[in-house]
Symmetry: C2
Subunit: 214 residues, 2 copies
Amino acid sequence: MTQPPSEPLESLEPLGPLEPPKPSEPARGRRTRADARRNRERIVEAARKAFAESGPEASLNEIARRAGVGPGTLYRHFPTRPALLTAVFQDRIDTLCGRAEELLTADSPDEALAEWLRAFLAHARVNQGMGGSLLIEELEKPDALGFDCHQRIQDTAHGLLARAQHSGTARPDLTAIDLVQLVVGIALSTAHATADPSQPDRLLTLVLDAVRRR
Amino acid sequence: MTQPPSEPLESLEPLGPLEPPKPSEPARGRRTRADARRNRERIVEAARKAFAESGPEASLNEIARRAGVGPGTLYRHFPTRPALLTAVFQDRIDTLCGRAEELLTADSPDEALAEWLRAFLAHARVNQGMGGSLLIEELEKPDALGFDCHQRIQDTAHGLLARAQHSGTARPDLTAIDLVQLVVGIALSTAHATADPSQPDRLLTLVLDAVRRR
DNA sequence: AGCTATCCGGAGAGATTCTCCATATCGTGA
DNA sequence: TCACGATATGGAGAATCTCTCCGGATAGCT
């Protein structure tokens, strides 16, 4: 997905939703070292697999080992677990918010909101609900990395909701926070429910019923 | 439920909704030793405080230390973390389900269901959402201890919901599982949200709107 | 009191998180 | 092309946690 940009020397392509090597430090003086970038990619890739296999509690040590780096290197790049989770989920979130922009011009604001919430629920449920856990964890500790990711989703939800409210199909007293929390809640409480795979959608449909004003 | 033989030698006060010493072994031969019962109480009490302070991830070692017992003793009584959590929450759940029995004879089945769900949400939210986490964890590993606790809540919800459905104020296509999962979801996703204390109730009100059929 | 099933407690193995810093490596200017 | 110094590395290790094992203590029964 996100990887081999295969830069010959330095052709950092100005691609859209891909993360720059170090958005924080604005390249004063020297450039980011190539090995640092390479290791970062390796870590993210190993983390993606490890999280998929073992859930969001996967051992960071083990991830470092599988990435072929030392624990210190992992912690240098990602000081906290949410930071690493965010990096892993970055492109998924990009896709999600990109989908929202298309939906903002859809015919039915109501259906657009519903469809995006379904996509968001799917996102929050992947990998044993780690998407949802991530969003929750970010809320408590507003780190630079996590907050940004959560804010994007909130803003996206706000756009779609406002449009649906303006067209009169959604209750005007709803906020984007309401929607996000309800859907994240469904994701969390059904994260491990293997009994009925359609249950999450069932619950979301119920919530959507409440969203539509009568 | 399964017994308090009301031991005479014990000055352990015979309070109501407290858990029996060992429901599993049906007292063949010898009686449960007094020190075992005493230690069990101490552990539960220490756990209650520790979980309240540090959330459901509190160190079991630390709990044992504060209870004045060794780690081995703690694990003898409570093999898993959910087992200990269940013990801590036992009387709270008793209260919750007891309240439901009163509500089953209330005038308005609709209001009875709503009120109980509010109480259930409060229960699931206490101590940084550990009530909710507990219910979720039980779902994945049906241990004897946890399953029982979850089943009781499910049954209680079912009773109130069935009555509301019969009276025509609740959608007939809802199940008790739906309700429990929605409320647990709200509890989880708002567990750490300190911004707006009324948010959980707000979300529950929304859900209740969806429950009532129009 | 004595016997024995039961229980205690803490040592310790193994796993994990996170830090620190001597060393290796990369990017750059000459 | 080379040397220099800013950057990054990685792994030892401290601290913490979970969970097990078993010699020894103890409570209940007779």
